[in-house]
Amino acid sequence: MDKEKLNISEEKEKKKKEMILFLSSSEEKEHFLSKGNRKLLTDPLDDNNPITVQVLGICSALAITVQLEPAVVMAIAVVAVMAFSNMIVSMLRNMIPSRIRIIVQLVVVASLVALVDQVLKAYAYDVSKQLSVFIGLIITNCIVMGRLEAFALGNGVYKSFLDGVGNAAGYGLILIIVAFFRELLGSGKLFGFEVLGHKGVTDAESTGLYALGYVDNGLMLLSPMALIVVGLLIWVQRARNRKLIEEN
């Protein structure tokens, strides 16, 4: 009699557990671009931007934003590296021995970076020469390792992929904005095309704004100016978005 009762209660327990499992699994099966997933993509673009809010990855932002082209290539390279390293680490997250997890993360990131470097050397040689040092330095970009530790190790593959793309895009967005202002004001060009007119050797040969007496701001080409532009971006963003202002 007692035994039967026990069996029944066990049975009930089992069903309960199955129910919970079913519920949780159905919860995971949310829509591909549900609200939560969209947030993973869009949050790092603004409210949780890795550069302007978390103030990470500044060094490369200083170095490669003199012109738009390398900035765009760097942005694409970081998106590729972060999306796939997040994905791979998330796939392996239950297999990675926790004692060597940082090494595993580093190996994943480093080999992806080596891949990107090889591909650039073959298909975008001039850009790769300009970027060579910085592509290698993606490995040490705090944003990449930070997202692996903070997100990919504890979340599913698809979500980690989105998180990687989102954070890298947030980083790339700032890079491109900074590069836009620096190239435009520093050399009067965008992607190498003269948009403010042509600056001739003599005044008579100049056209566009240069004919009116406009002079390029050489300071824009120096690294410190990137820091100032990033600072201005942080200012603009916080003035617009009150919740980012820290209370003291």
Partner: protein, 247 residues
């Protein structure tokens, strides 16, 4: 169940096997891409070399157009020995200066390119030396008198951006044009990169203006020019009487 799997991934054996498998997989993937992309990368490097050789004689081109212009203007590729004689069986273009420079002087091969632009003859000498952090290299072209510089290009492996890396900039390369490599008494001195009191418009003083903050890279450029040019003197003397040309 949960605990079991945690224990499993934490054991020494598992950790070792995981590390070994990971390294193997990564090695295979990386070496496969590296080998399959190598032909395209080599072609890029070859075209860039042609591009920089052409740039020293005033022909600016993109990488795609480099080969056609190179074939048109470069009339001879000469591989020289230490005594100035020509090594017939060596392809000068493929000589790797980085390897040659480590050998004894009399075992080295010295590549030289002879160009023809609208009837003017130019000699182009490849350069290689040491900057502050790593190797610097480039090409320098001499006019037919083997004394006046037509142009120069420089490149580097790891000089500091904004300081040593400025040697690749147009203004620095342009300052070498029309400088002389022999002094008034006919000794080879090359061109020195000098800080301060020099007149950039004086083309007979064997000096160009330095980059502030890049003294060691600048000295590297001076050394590399006089160093490499001296090996070509025997050949140049065979071609013409240099002493006469200087006067």
């Amino acid at each position: 169940m949960e605990e079991k799997s945690v224990n499993k991934t934490n054991s020494n054996g598992y950790t070792f096997i995981f590390a070994i498998v990971m390294v193997l997989v990564v090695a295979v993937v990386l070496s496969f891409t590296a080998t399959s992309l190598q032909p395209i990368q080599r072609e890029n490097v070859r075209q860039e070399k042609m591009q920089s050789i052409l740039a020293t004689i005033g022909i600016e081109t993109d990488r795609a157009g480099a080969e056609a212009l190179y074939d048109k203007h470069i009339t001879e590729e000469v591989a020289l020995m230490y005594d100035g004689s020509v090594a017939e069986d060596v392809d000068a273009f493929t000589v790797d200066l980085a390897k040659e420079i480590k050998r004894e002087d009399n075992e080295q091969i010295f590549p030289l390119y002879v160009a023809d632009v609208e009837g003017e003859k130019y000699y182009i000498v490849p350069l290689r030396g040491n900057g502050l952090w790593n190797a610097i290299f480039g090409y320098i072209s001499l006019k037919d008198d083997v004394n006046t510089i037509k142009g120069a290009t420089f490149d580097h492996l790891g000089e500091t951006p904004g300081l040593g890396a400025e040697i690749t900039k147009q203004w620095f390369k342009e300052s070498f044009a029309d400088e002389k490599i022999f002094d008034e008494s006919g000794n080879l001195v090359g061109v020195s990169v000098v800080k301060g009191d020099i007149d950039p418009s004086d083309k007979d003083d064997n000096q160009v203006d330095a980059i502030s903050g890049a003294t060691i890279t600048g000295d590297g450029v001076s050394d590399m020019i006089s160093n490499r040019l001296q090996y070509y003197l025997p050949y140049f003397e065979q071609q013409k009487d240099i002493k006469v040309a200087i006067q």
